[in-house]
Symmetry: C2
Subunit: 384 residues, 2 copies
């Protein structure tokens, strides 16, 4: 298949910021790209060759879109997997596969998959409904505290709650869910693994998600992670074993906990470009987006090491601000060394909505981390 010809069409399910950044690389390689998204204001509307409006969970919308392309990928997991399965049977190359997505879409299935494949993950229990949890606690089958996770459709922090007392269960949706032992961890780490259909595999360096000391929120993604070589090696091994078990094509971002004993436990995975890899655009020889494209098109994978140290700060909507977005002090942060803002192009801000990110690169990682703090203190995503 000649990807670099106008007879080839790549389809992307989802037209958000990840798709938008992927389109930079389809444009760089001049690959014809079609995007399906439910919103007429999707960031991908520009820069795709064809933009199609449609519901990603709708069988017909996904099937009809998929029939028009040669290779189909995703930028969001919540898509109609039955349609993908039919498309695969009918010869469309779907990466990640319907099989991979089915396991990942449901957190209970995903956790069982790790257990079945002897992959390290925190102990958990599965419930058909949240209402069954109280009974399990009362019968001694479950002890507090734990992490409650909605099994399906949780995304970016929604659908996850730390439950310390029975009262914390109140207000949670009564849905299929899992409870996970609360693991006291030293670090949250991530490794992005790329694999193409020929079976070539490359891993990006281990990154560290640095949390705010008070708020339980990732503040910085730091590449490379400030951990020992032994811990980094173990994290890469776990990520590679996870990749092997899924047998995925494209990227697999593996989020992990480094426990107090320096064990590595898988938290969850994403079979696509991921927030923990944004700094690769400026810091790595190959960006995660170019690498995803190389992988799904069965091109040779690019170098994954870093040119320089990288730190990423998410730009999320400020609390109390809703409406037309304003990036306050963006010019001030652009004065700082090695600072690149990425604005996703969403017109409306809402509290905690992901509106962009800022990458800080420097030959000295500590200096990048210092500048990142200044960036975080300075820029604000507010409304008009």
């Amino acid at each position: 298949m000649n990807y670099f010809s106008s007879n080839f069409k790549l389809g992307i399910l989802g037209g958000g910021q990840l798709g938008k950044m992927l389109l930079n690389d389809t444009r760089k390689f001049d690959i014809y790209t079609c995007v399906l998204d439910p919103s007429n204001e999707a960031p991908c509307k520009i820069a795709s060759n064809e933009f199609h409006l449609g519901d990603l969970m709708d069988y017909d919308a996904v099937y009809n879109f998929g029939k028009q392309v040669n290779v189909l990928t995703i930028e969001i997991e919540n898509v109609n997997v039955d349609a993908l399965e039919t498309l695969e049977k009918e010869g469309v190359k779907v990466y990640p596969s319907s099989k991979t997505l089915r396991i990942i879409q449901n957190k209970a299935t995903q956790k069982l998959f790790y257990v079945d494949n002897n992959l390290p993950t925190a102990p958990f229990s599965r419930f058909a409904y949240t209402s069954e949890i109280k009974e399990a606690i009362n019968h001694g089958g479950l002890s507090l505290p734990f992490v409650w996770k909605c099994a399906q459709f949780g995304y970016d922090g929604t659908g996850v709650k730390i439950v310390k007392s029975i009262e914390d269960l109140e207000g949670l949706p009564n849905v299929e869910c899992i409870t996970e032992t609360l693991v006291p961890f030293k670090n949250e780490l991530a490794v992005i693994v790329a694999r193409n259909p020929s079976g070539d595999i490359k891993t990006f360096p281990v990154v560290e998600m640095e949390f705010h000391p008070d708020a339980n929120q990732v503040e910085y993604v730091i590449c490379p992670a400030r951990v020992s070589d032994a811990v980094a090696k173990k994290a890469v091994e776990v990520a590679l074993n996870t990749s092997k078990a899924y047998n995925h094509v494209g990227l697999l971002a593996v989020e992990m906990f480094q426990t107090q004993n320096d064990d590595i436990l898988i938290n969850e995975v994403a079979p696509r470009p991921h927030n923990s890899g944004h700094q690769t655009i400026e810091a790595s020889y190959t960006s995660q987006f170019e690498q995803h494209l190389r992988a799904i098109l069965n091109l040779p994978l690019g170098r994954t090491n870093s040119k320089v140290g990288g730190v990423m700060v998410n730009l999320v909507g400020a609390e109390g601000c809703s409406g037309n977005v304003v990036y306050e002090n963006i010019e001030a942060i652009m004065k700082l060394d090695g600072v690149t803002p990425h604005i996703y192009g969403k017109k409306q801000t809402r509290p905690f909505r992901k509106m962009g990110h800022v990458t800080i690169v420097n030959e000295d990682l500590n200096e990048a981390r210092r500048i990142a703090e200044e960036v975080k203190k300075t820029i604000k995503v507010i409304s008009e």
Copy 2:
């Protein structure tokens, strides 16, 4: 002016590959962008917010387009400057200015400008018509050999000829032209200077254009240039003085000769992103395209030093091939370390047409240069 709002519009005259690469950065910053180009197949048609069809040399086309934007820039010099002058008077910010463009558009005017500003350049003579040259030789006012240059509209090697004998003059168009003393040079160097309206100035590192030993054609752009610190310093000084004389806003790419005595002579300039800066996308902290955008929007200029060594190879159409383009062996070069092809998206190839470029980055510049040679030997731009 809030550039990061939907009320702001940036206009670009020209929709070719330079505009296309600039659009990557307008998309990154979510800046609303309008492009004017005469071809419906222009690489900028995708990824601009608005694409307008029109002749860049036509007063009305340029004026009417310019009236719709807040800041107007170019990706090609051959545009209607009278329209730009009117737009400036009417409050549109035009960078580079009509004044800068008027000097640069005509090679005779450009050379006189260097003389007037005590900037070093090779001696030259000016002729209203090529036919007058023979007379000058006969009267002893001009001696062979020399370089003949068409004064206007020469681009990418057209409009330039080395004249060694009177017979070489035959077949040249009878137009306004200059003749320049043939300078035996050690190296052709270039420095890109960025300047914003506030007067902030930054220079990218000196690059070297390595020529094919037989064919008189640039084969590689190498960053940084393999010259002594003293020569590099002198080249930067000449570039800065040139920038100061033009008082331009945006980028100014200054092409220079390093003579046998290590003098620096200005060859010519381009007030925009330039072929000698493509490697900045992968090699520099700030790409030339992002820097041009920062400069014309009066944003702080970014760091211009390199993360790693960079070499750039142009992808031009192979001799004897015309028609639908095929990039032969593109997958083979993507196997090599640190290799990124940029495909401009032109559907038709012609001999020597610029169809793309390949950047090779490496922590070791010599290794990048070695891989670049392999790239050049391997990939071919042919027709179906």
